[in-house]
Amino acid sequence: MSTTLTRSSSPGRWRTVDLVTAAVLGVAFGVVFWGWAVVYAALSPVFAVLAPLSGLLGGVWLLPAVVGALVVRRPGAALLAELVAASVEALLGSHWGVGVLVSGAVQGLGVEIAVAVFAWKRWGVGVAVLGGVVAAVLEGVYELFAYFAGTWTLGFQVLYVACFALSGALVAGVGGWALVRALARAGALGAFGAGRELHRRG
């Protein structure tokens, strides 16, 4: 591939294409967030009946972190992609103002924890699901205290975090993993491990 200009041996040393791809993924998902926020707002009356179920919509916010980690496969990729996506949201004017930057950091760190558990060596669907769940739990707890001021009953709080975790596992974990595979199939990941593995196998 012509895009592998700078070679790297250690996972800690980022190539330029790693940096730019993680950041651009963040921007692209920031644009997707912008659309998703409209859907979110449109659907919120539905969740007025049982507010904690709105956690089910939350997995989409974690996608850039999971996809960034699985594509770039370096420590910090999830954090960079998610922070850039959050910046786009903050620049366009979001629900939570500067709070989205904190959310971005929390979510990115959640996925970083999951990939660090496997020492940046495993990039399958299991790691993706774990990343989605850890990020969702951290973000859910942060939201309950920062935005909802801890006013919900314990049961509702647990239900909210559980819904968020389920959404994180399915949408961000399985969905993010499938998305990276689809990107690799489309031939967009030639410069990355995810793309090379696919071609080696088939």
């Binding site: 012509s2 294409v17 730019v20 791809t21 507010a51 960079l80 500067v98 709070g99 935005y147 967009a188």
Partner: protein, 300 residues
């Protein structure tokens, strides 16, 4: 940056940099490190003073607008964060109301006369309503309405300063300041700014992908489900294009010595990142506003 930076392009509630970097996102992002990267010391001794273009904050200062226009990105970010932190101290609706009142009194300093921030505030209104309503339903307080009003007002106090202040943030300028003042790693910052410069390009790509799909008979149907599927597959096309574009951008950046810059000699920057008096004023005033909830709580 911005050789075309006409003061008329100064924002009306929309981040100026998003538009300003539209025209040549790749070139602009790449030019910056190149200035200092190579050219064997020419950049060091060159006619720096004569050639340095004005920073975005200086351009904004020259144009009419509310006083906050002269502030740089770091003070904007710091005050947004401080105000959000301060709002965490709210535990009663009266405190929140006082804090909101103080914030509203500061509004003329942040919002221009002609520019209406209305569009940026719609999501905040939705969020406050949903927080308030869900607190009524999911809370276990004796006075649900009072708790809900507190939660909703607290959210407005938490979010409002950030939404309004970050409207003045220029991504490219923020990158200059984060790297030069806060000493964040230059490569990461420039890559992020280069990516943010593609924001408007991505919106165009969305239109192109949508048009191409329509020509091929892959339009959206009428049902919400078919629309959702259409939006999802168009978003996938957008992602593929974004990743390919990132690869090309990276090649262009490396061709100009991006990866090597900063290894032998410190990376230099096209624009300075000055901390100006307006920044100090904003920081001091913002810290006072941010402290209002805490002060009211301690005194009351």
């Amino acid at each position: 940056m911005s050789r075309d930076g006409t003061p008329a392009a100064v924002p009306s509630g929309v981040p100026s940099g998003v538009h300003r970097t539209v025209h040549t996102p790749v070139d602009e992002a790449v030019e910056k490190p190149v200035d200092g990267a190579g050219e064997a010391g020419a950049a060091v001794d060159g006619p720096v003073d004569a050639g340095v273009p004005p920073t975005p904050a200086q351009l904004r200062s020259a144009a009419p607008g509310p006083p906050v226009r002269s502030c740089g990105p770091l003070s904007l970010l710091a005050v947004s964060l401080l105000c959000a932190l301060g709002a965490l101290a709210v535990d009663d609706w009266q405190q929140a109301a006082v804090a909101l009142l103080v914030q509203l009194l500061c509004l003329p300093l942040v919002v221009g006369r002609g520019a209406s921030p209305g569009r940026r505030l719609v999501p905040l209104a939705v969020a406050a309503l949903s927080v308030g309503w869900s607190t009524v339903l999911a809370g276990d307080s004796d006075e649900p309405l009072r708790t809900a009003a507190t939660a909703a007002l607290r959210l407005v106090v938490l979010v409002l300063p950030g939404v309004l202040l970050l409207g003045w943030l220029d991504p490219g300028e923020a990158g200059d300041h984060l790297a030069q003042r806060l000493r964040l790693p230059g490569r990461v910052v420039v890559a992020a700014v280069a990516a943010l410069g593609q924001l408007a390009t991505l919106a165009q790509v969305w239109d192109q992908v949508a048009a191409a799909r329509r020509v091929r008979g892959l339009g959206a149907g009428r049902s919400p489900l078919s629309r959702a599927r259409w939006a999802a597959s168009t978003a996938f096309g957008l992602l593929v294009d974004a990743v390919r574009r990132a690869g090309r951008t990276a090649v262009a950046m490396d061709a100009r010595g991006f990866a090597a810059a900063g290894v032998d000699a410190p990376r230099s920057w096209a624009l300075p990142a000055p901390w100006r008096r307006a920044d100090s004023v904003l920081l001091a005033a913002g810290a006072l506003v941010a402290a209002v909830p805490l002060l009211v709580r301690l005194l009351g």
